[in-house]
Amino acid sequence: MATSNGAVPFWRTRRGQRRLTTIVVLVALCAGAAIILLPFFWMVSTALKPAEQVYLSPPVWVPIPPQFGNAIEVLTRVPFNRYALNTFVIVALVMIGTLFSCSFAAYGFARINAPGRNLIFMLVLATLMLPGAVTLVPTYLMFNSVGWVDTFLPLIVPAFFGNAFSIFLLRQYYLTIPVELEEAAKIDGASHYRIWWSIILPLSKPVLATIAVFTFVGTYNDFFTPLIYLSNEDNYTIAVALSFFQGSPRIGPQMHLLMAAVTMSIIPPLLLFVAAQRYFVRGIVMSGIKG
């Protein structure tokens, strides 16, 4: 492979330097990866332990045989399926609302000239910097006064009114779509609504997918909103239910069951991440570009 003549040792050559850097980078990255992965390992390890092995010192690292029954015990002790169903209903409707409202609004911001458009767009972008706390109390009181507290509506309805980040991403993407594609349709008398639906939407599938995965993860992991709006246990999402597990008499402080529940709860976003990784990466890259 590398030939180093007697005078210059291999590690002083350009190629050797490069090889050396790669080794250093690899070692550092492996160490970091170990730190990232260790909590997951510990979680799964605890989730598969029999109760008597959880609080042992020194700890049991790999429980043999693994207790897959822990997961089943969680499912029978608490209505986990119910929580999962609630969560997925909310996530699905929030995704529909977000994709529809944001792509619709973004078309207006990208394609139609109306007085005040840029001002409105700036205001929408400014909401990105707004701390959620400042709108929290009045929003809660508003939903309370229309009797929506303890329903899914406060979690779902706002999604139908767009969010700054997704509108921004979509608008930027629409601006890169050549207008010529729409000219022909316009000459044929197609309305803006038709152009949006049958030309722009199909062309923006990659961005829509990016927004969809971020919306899924954000809504699925959201804790605060369901915590303040949902009080009946039948309405809990997985996130809220989990937070009550640690104090619940049904699961109590039984760490192996709690970790089994946590493990199950992270499976959906993890699967989505594995399946749709390039969309996550694309979204981050796009969000960084505007900096």
């Binding site: 980078v25 458009r117 409105i120 929408v124 804790f223 976003p269 991440f273 990466v281 969000s287």
Partner: protein, 317 residues
């Protein structure tokens, strides 16, 4: 790259410079407003309206059950006299001042490592980003278990190298550091934003610097850092806003304790709004947070010409 191409946009709808009938243009604008309507309504109903309502509420005493009563500045006066408010402010300030710079530094370091061209690098990128995807209550509970004083894996590993770990979440001195460590675990999102910025730096600049005899450090200092500064700026603004709003970790992992050691402003606000139903007082806290975030954002923006490098001719917002 994303400079608003205003010329093209306006060119597109006003392309034929012949005067059109006014009605036609009005109808076009009307369609525009229809399209923008979700955003406009959202802005009014879920942002502007609540901001104003929140300001008004902060001058009242309101517990939902009885009508709001106008009390002027009383909530603000009470707030500044309340010991726990200062504690909450202190906790949020320490957390932000420590976790934001640490997170930015760590993220930039990792991004530089992840920018190294080698086989299998994308696997590492995925691993580092993974915690961001599954953040939330589950992960918070996991960290509670990791920080367990006696059986948690952190103290077990510390014990292996001969360090007796603190009681972490049970120790008022160590609970906040524990939450900062937790936040650093989720630094992958910031890392990938930095990585995107690094990949946009032209390779020739490094080659030129190398020809001039610049070592690793001076290449980092004079090429990477200036060219990445706009991304740093973006991450800094987002980091400050995020750090002041931390809730899930503080609420799930420590419930604000022990002895208020992790009573973040957001937790303090939650307690007043939804446990004591002090809606007026909670609004005052919210407006204070709003004020602080605005102040910090303006400071960062104003200071940016001093440390953010913009290529000449490149328009930046």
């Amino acid at each position: 790259m994303t400079t608003p191409p205003l010329a093209r946009e306006t060119g597109q709808t006003e392309a034929p410079r012949v005067p059109r009938p006014a009605r036609r243009w009005n109808r076009e604008a009307l369609h525009g407003y229809v399209f923008m309507s979700p955003a406009i309504l959202g802005l009014l109903i879920f942002t502007l309206g609540p901001i104003i309502a929140s300001l008004l509420l902060s001058f009242t005493d309101y517990n939902i059950l009885t009508d709001p009563e106008w009390v002027g500045l009383k909530n603000y006066v009470d707030m500044f006299e309340e010991r726990l408010f200062w504690q909450a402010l202190r906790v949020s300030a320490i957390y932000s001042v420590v976790s934001v710079p640490l997170g930015l530094g760590l993220a930039l370091g990792l991004a530089i490592l992840l920018n190294h061209a080698m086989r299998g690098i994308s696997v590492f990128r995925s691993i580092y980003y993974m915690p961001t995807v599954i953040s939330g209550v589950g992960v918070a509970m996991l960290w509670r278990w990791l920080f367990n004083a006696e059986f948690g894996v952190i103290n077990v590993l510390l014990g292996k190298v001969g360090i007796e770990g603190p009681a972490w979440l049970l120790d008022a001195n160590w609970a906040l550091p524990a939450l900062i460590i937790t936040s650093l675990w989720g630094v992958g999102g910031t890392t990938l934003i930095f990585l995107a910025g690094l990949q946009a730096i032209p390779e020739e600049l490094y080659e030129a610097a190398e020809i001039d005899g610049a070592g690793l450090w001076s290449r980092f200092w004079s090429v990477t850092l200036p060219l990445i500064s706009n991304v740093t700026f973006f991450n800094l603004v987002l980091g400050i806003i995020g750090a002041l709003q931390v809730f899930t970790d503080a609420f799930v992992i420590t419930r604000g304790g022990p002895n208020h050691a992790t009573l973040f402003l957001s937790v303090y606000l939650y307690q007043h709004a939804f446990q004591y139903l002090n809606m007026g007082y909670a609004s005052a806290i919210a407006w204070f947070m709003f004020f602080v975030v605005m102040l910090l954002t303006v400071l960062v923006f104003k200071s940016s010409p001093l440390w953010v490098y913009y290529e000449s001719g490149r328009q930046e917002k």
